[in-house]
Symmetry: C2
Subunit: 272 residues, 2 copies
């Protein structure tokens, strides 16, 4: 009997972690483990306590006949800040400097451990919000979108600058690229987003905000609602940004190609 509880706790933990933001009725677990609902309730109380203590997330209990448990992954502000501060140091390394003052990021955005953390940090910002989809633009936004989508457990959609025959009919918008002030075009497969969806926009890097603004227009075209915008990193921008409300995990404060220094600090995600 003691072993049975241990096994239930292990498998339950696995199941909850793989099904975040999904209401799971107690009867589901009772059936899965051939156990009484009262035992399952006790198990879940232990899981809840441990998840809270270890900063894994919140296990919400919804009472009633249509109730159950819902796991909401979370990271504390302190843990998030610590992680991002370490990342600032890594990103400030001289050898990341590219011609033209760009910062090399592609290696970071291919690391599973970093993506897990970034996904968890971004998802933690929207705990109370109803989100139906995560949106990003190809190519480098994709890993961020997928990472967030894993924690929110909602699909992500990829906006493209080049049309592809494998996307079917698309809806396109023109937007002003903030950095170069050129008019560009982006499009999204028509069937990828249902009308009325609540959409979270994420991207890897923001300068003028033109690309994000394009995604905002696209969300309007689809008669959807923008929930928020979070970017992995933002750069200092001299002009007026195309968007005002956004959140950034990292802020590339200064890039000096002559002295070969990059200065990265935590972004406005961490401001009050």
């Amino acid at each position: 009997m003691k072993i049975r509880r241990s096994e239930r706790l292990i498998d339950m933990t696995h199941y909850l972690l793989e099904h975040p933001h999904q209401l799971i009725p107690l009867t589901f677990f009772a059936k899965r483990y051939e156990s009484a609902k009262s035992s399952i309730s006790e198990d879940l109380a232990i899981v809840k306590k441990t998840f809270k203590m270890r900063g894994t997330g919140i296990l919400e209990t919804i009472p009633g006949a249509a109730g159950g448990v819902l796991f909401v992954p979370e990271i504390s502000m302190a843990d998030a800040r610590k992680y991002i501060e370490d990342l600032c140091e890594e990103m400030s390394q001289q050898d990341r400097l590219l011609p033209g003052g760009y910062v090399y990021l592609s290696d970071l955005l291919g690391q599973p451990e970093l993506l897990r953390q970034v996904g968890r940090i971004i998802a933690s910002k929207y705990l109370g919000e109803k989100i139906d989809a995560v949106m990003t633009v190809a190519t480098k936004g994709v890993p961020i979108a997928q990472a967030v989508s894993y924690y929110l457990n909602v699909p992500f959609v990829i906006v493209r600058r080049d049309s592809k025959i494998t996307e079917g009919s698309t809806v396109s918008v023109n937007y002003v690229s903030g950095s170069s002030e050129r008019i560009e075009k982006m499009e999204l497969s028509k069937r990828s987003l249902a009308r009325g969806s609540r959409v979270l926009v994420v991207d890897d890097f923001m300068k003028g905000g033109g690309t994000v603004n394009g995604m905002k227009s696209l969300i309007e075209e689809f008669e959807c609602e923008l929930v928020g915008v979070t970017v992995f990193a933002e750069a200092k921008f001299k002009g007026t940004r195309a968007i005002n409300e956004y959140s950034s995990l990292l802020f590339v404060e200064n890039v000096d190609t002559r002295t070969k220094t990059i200065n990265v600090v935590p972004g406005n995600y961490f401001e009050e």
Copy 2:
């Protein structure tokens, strides 16, 4: 004391799931839970048994001073086949048919639950292999690469058809696009792959195999080694394929634009 074990099991499960393919010394857990190594050993035996019973994966125990435990996520052939068979049905739906006989897949490749399963299935094929990196080509291969990378716990790199200033120096190769027989170019950031790396190639869709063949050339240019190739779906191809050895989860056997039928069956992953 009873509670303590419960808490350890829950947090241990979480930790192992988030750190697959990583050797974790027993002393790490002993310290984390302020517990004796003998207790930790007992805990791990329970986790091992449960993971095996539920098909979560294998918990390997490496004895000795430099030893510890290593979690290898896995899915049984039977579970994998069941999942893919359901997917075949979903992919055979008439409304996925696009002009030109293409099949719409983008919605599927944005679903976190599908990506988790596909990542686990692909990773399970390379259990005994040493893999240093997963490689794919932008854009639609990225979610597959990231999904696999989460389970193998190694970075993924993205080959691009268009050069970007944010990639730094790149190495490029020309390749023959199998479907159109045009010569195209693909490139990869020079610093993204270390010489001698063992690379697993994944992609969303394969027809003639030209793109995959391009990635093979690129792997040679980087003086790396190809471990294997697995694609999410392959289509029937009349000519001679540019590559012979590959694995596919799904096989699009037939697309008939006149009768509007798509026929998808499990791919050669499931053949002996």
